[in-house]
Symmetry: C2
Subunit: 220 residues, 2 copies
DNA sequence: TAGATTGTTAATCGATTAACAATC
DNA sequence: TAGATTGTTAATCGATTAACAATC
């Protein structure tokens, strides 16, 4: 029987990623098991929610003892596809781009940068964190010779769609977008946006909301 | 009548931030109005959703003509609190931290970095993008002399809670957390997490999901 | 056995979408 | 006026939480 995998809701995936990080810490402290209730407390979630989340990864706990930390970590890692490695390329070696290249994604998060690309010749033909930076024009050639699963877009919004088009044309299935641009891609390509500004907007709005407004200052 | 402001759902705020960026582009191209329907198409949302979102900011459109772009931009900016400026400090001047300091938040997003702090003396007493970097120990003194609305946490997860505690102690109301750590803070402090790994998890999971599994490979 | 903890089923809550009336 | 577009009310959908049974 051929079966696709269950589409997990984004909030669940985010929480699972949080558990994963927490569990790594517990494992390092030689702790072997934990109950969903205790885990829930640590992250201030509802315990039933934690159990439901874990269930989705195929984990089963034992009444009275809870879950084995090693098993949990493995299950979550498998669920995310982090046991294998995703080959990745990055476009736009600016401040953010270089910071991303320098982060150790490979250790725990299944992401391996094999190259980066930039349209500015001054930034090309160097190594950043041992990752070669080439000119954007070289990408098609490079792509034909390497297995690339993920393209990271760290260019300005104005050129982001162009980069996305190139990625799609070369058959890259996953796009991690750090630009403001709303990328239009065919259905078979997955775009995930990591846009700081949206996160900042939530923070500043919450601050605005928490300010008690003086009489008349709030419009209708 | 004293009234707090409506607590907007996070998804709405994220979408509004998307509109805001799009509208800035339209304005630059001298376009003066747009219908919610057209806007919806550009970002591939439901038009009713767009209208509901805009309503929350107090915007009213005109049947047959739509919304004025200038008005929309202003309304969204006011809604986010971006007309005023939020004074901000950053902790952890590493790769990510410096990238954040170099981004022009001030222009459009109401965020003004007034200083950064690091526990590594080698990184202190320099300027990054004209923003002074001090030693963490100096923060309490600094805080007493400046109005700080937001603290940005860009330190490793292992020291993030410590930084959060310092921020809370100095009465900072908004914390923008880029570390993996789950920060525990009193209710009067708002924490917004901008955790890349969670975003990456969604992308990799979607890729895992889209792979059709061969017989027997998918467990139960 | 008793009690803690899991797992399941049902209820609630909130966000999105659909249907339609109002208006320029 | 007719038609496009807004705004509102109701229906649907999905995610979270509550209640409780199952199990070690």
């Amino acid at each position: 029987m051929i079966s696709g995998k269950v589409k997990a809701p984004a909030p669940v995936i985010r929480r699972l990623s949080t558990y994963h990080h927490l569990l790594m810490g517990l494992r390092q402290r030689q702790i072997q098991r934990i109950s969903s209730t205790a885990l829930a407390e640590m992250v201030e979630y509802n315990p039933v929610q934690v159990r439901k989340d874990l269930q989705l990864t195929g984990l089963v706990g034992k009444p009275k003892t809870g879950f084995l930390i090693d098993e949990m970590e493995d299950a979550i890692r498998r669920f995310m596809g982090w046991e294998a490695e995703f080959g990745a390329v990055l476009f736009g070696v600016g401040n953010l781009g270089s910071a991303l290249l320098r982060y150790p994604w490979r250790e725990e998060h299944g992401l391996r940068f094999i190259a980066a690309f930039d349209s500015d010749p001054a930034r090309c033909n160097i190594l950043v964190n041992n990752i070669p930076v080439y000119h954007t024009d070289y990408f098609a050639t490079f792509s034909a010779e390497h297995e690339i699963h993920i393209g990271v877009v760290a260019v300005p919004a104005s050129t982001a769609q162009k980069v996305a088009d190139i990625l799609v044309k070369e058959g890259i299935k996953g796009i991690w977008n750090f630009s403001h641009a709303h990328l239009k891609t065919p259905a078979h390509a997955t775009v995930e946006n990591a846009i700081f500004t949206q996160s900042l907007a939530i923070l500043t709005r919450r601050l605005v909301e928490s300010q008690v407004t003086s009489p008349g200052k709030e419009h209708s």
